[in-house]
């Protein structure tokens, strides 16, 4: 099963625990095989990740409604500029905690970009949003990450 690690990684970061992440991926795989005919070529990793993402959000809506905070992608101009940030000393534990703090849409964008190495176009396919939205989400996600790290005293 190719892309299973990527699928699990995304589900695990969205659900926040092993057990539910495994359930989400298993259900997503059942759907992927059942509706395999819905796959019309293209990128099979993005396709599977999009199914996992949908299942994960359905699960979140049901079990962690507060985790989904709708974010507006338009008001980019309002991003405050926190000056020169520094991530150099962020270790794994701090970085992990910071990622967990972020809204789901930001967290998934960073996970797909930095942990899975997806391109903007692939992330757009997975999250079902335009490429421009991916770009602004990543920028805002990093800025939030940075202000979290600043609060934790990471220099």
């Amino acid at each position: 099963m190719p892309h299973l690690d990527a699928a699990y990684n995304l589900a695990r970061w969205l659900a926040g625990n092993d057990h539910d992440a495994a359930d989400i991926v298993q259900e997503a795989c059942v759907r992927a095989f059942r509706y395999g005919s819905g796959f019309r070529g293209g990128n099979s990793r993005s396709w599977l990740l999009a199914i996992v993402r949908n299942m994960a959000y359905t699960w979140l809506k049901k079990n962690r409604p507060k985790a989904i905070v709708s974010i507006e992608d338009e008001d980019l101009a309002e991003i405050e500029d926190p000056g020169a940030p520094a991530f150099a000393q962020a270790d794994a534990a701090v970085l992990r905690a910071a990622l967990e703090e972020l809204p789901a849409e930001f967290r998934e964008a960073l996970v797909l970009r930095h942990l899975e190495g997806l391109s903007y176009k692939e992330i757009a396919e997975v999250a079902d949003v335009p490429v421009g939205t991916v770009m602004s989400r990543l920028a805002r996600a990093r800025q939030q990450l940075q202000s979290y790290l600043a609060r934790k005293g990471v220099k």
């Binding site: 099963m1 695990r12 259900e27 795989c29 101009a77 020169a84 992990r96 903007y120 990543l138």
Partner: protein, 248 residues
């Protein structure tokens, strides 16, 4: 270009998503702007922080095993059975085939395409209730449900809430029927859920059928094929079919 406009481009540059012309613009600006240069450095630091600390989770062995089970084709599953059981299944399959052939031959009208579709529609209805996957978009507001379908389908179904007639719109979902992606609207009447499957079709048959205790009503209107399925009684379903037909 000012620094505010540059902000997004810095991120895209660090992600290697800019074309040559834009990349040069960014490089030029960073050379002459200390603020943006500092930002670029911090972005690079973040990237290496992610590279140095592997935060990715890998799939546990138990999940790997159960997914392999899902993916395995049926013949493979059979091969794992003991030999005598294999024979049992083979005979059973042979018997079932014989019965199926007889049923087709004896049945005077044969199995029409519509009968197969009714079975598929009922299965989709049962599955939606069983898997607790009734709706992808939960809303009684047609202005929420209709746009949700846009972009997911190559057609735009009419979405109307009939709460006044005691058929409340619960939400919508995508489903796969008759070899294509279809819209599924979910209505609730008393305690009964009704799945309404919609896809474009011309001159589709109108019919009322019953299948495994479920009632199925189909009709076409405005170039769309409608299939209503529920465990509620047939007159109720026909009433909703009437409302949907007028709603066009």
């Amino acid at each position: 270009m000012n620094c505010a406009e540059m902000n997004l481009l810095l991120h895209a540059y660090a992600d290697g998503e800019l074309d040559v012309v834009r990349s040069l613009e960014v490089e030029q600006h960073v050379k002459s702007c200390a603020t943006c240069a500092a930002k670029m450095n911090s972005l690079k630091a973040l990237q290496s922080a992610f590279k140095e600390n592997d935060l990715a989770y890998s799939a546990p062995v138990s999940l790997r095993r159960s997914v392999r089970q899902i993916a395995r084709p049926p013949e493979d599953r059979e091969a794992r059975l003991p030999r005598d059981l294999q024979w049992f299944w083979k005979w059973l399959a042979l018997g079932a085939t014989a019965v199926a052939i007889l049923a087709i031959v004896i049945r005077p009208m044969g199995i029409s395409q519509n009968d197969a579709l009714v079975g598929e529609v009922v299965s989709a209805h049962v599955r939606s209730l069983m898997a607790e996957h009734l709706t992808d978009v939960v809303s009684s507001d047609k202005h929420t449900v209709k746009p949700w379908f846009a972009g997911k389908l190559d057609f735009s179904p009419a979405v109307t809430d009939f709460a006044g007639q005691d058929f409340a719109l619960v939400g919508g979902r995508l489903d796969y029927l008759n070899g294509r992606t279809v819209a599924a609207l979910v209505y609730k009447h008393n305690k009964h859920f009704i799945n309404v499957f919609i896809w474009p079709a011309a001159n589709a048959p109108s019919a009322q059928e019953s299948f495994h205790g479920y009632n199925v009503v189909s009709f076409d209107a405005g170039g769309f094929q409608y299939y209503l399925v529920s465990d509620m009684d047939e007159p109720g379903l026909t009433q909703l079919a009437g409302l949907l037909g007028q709603g066009k």
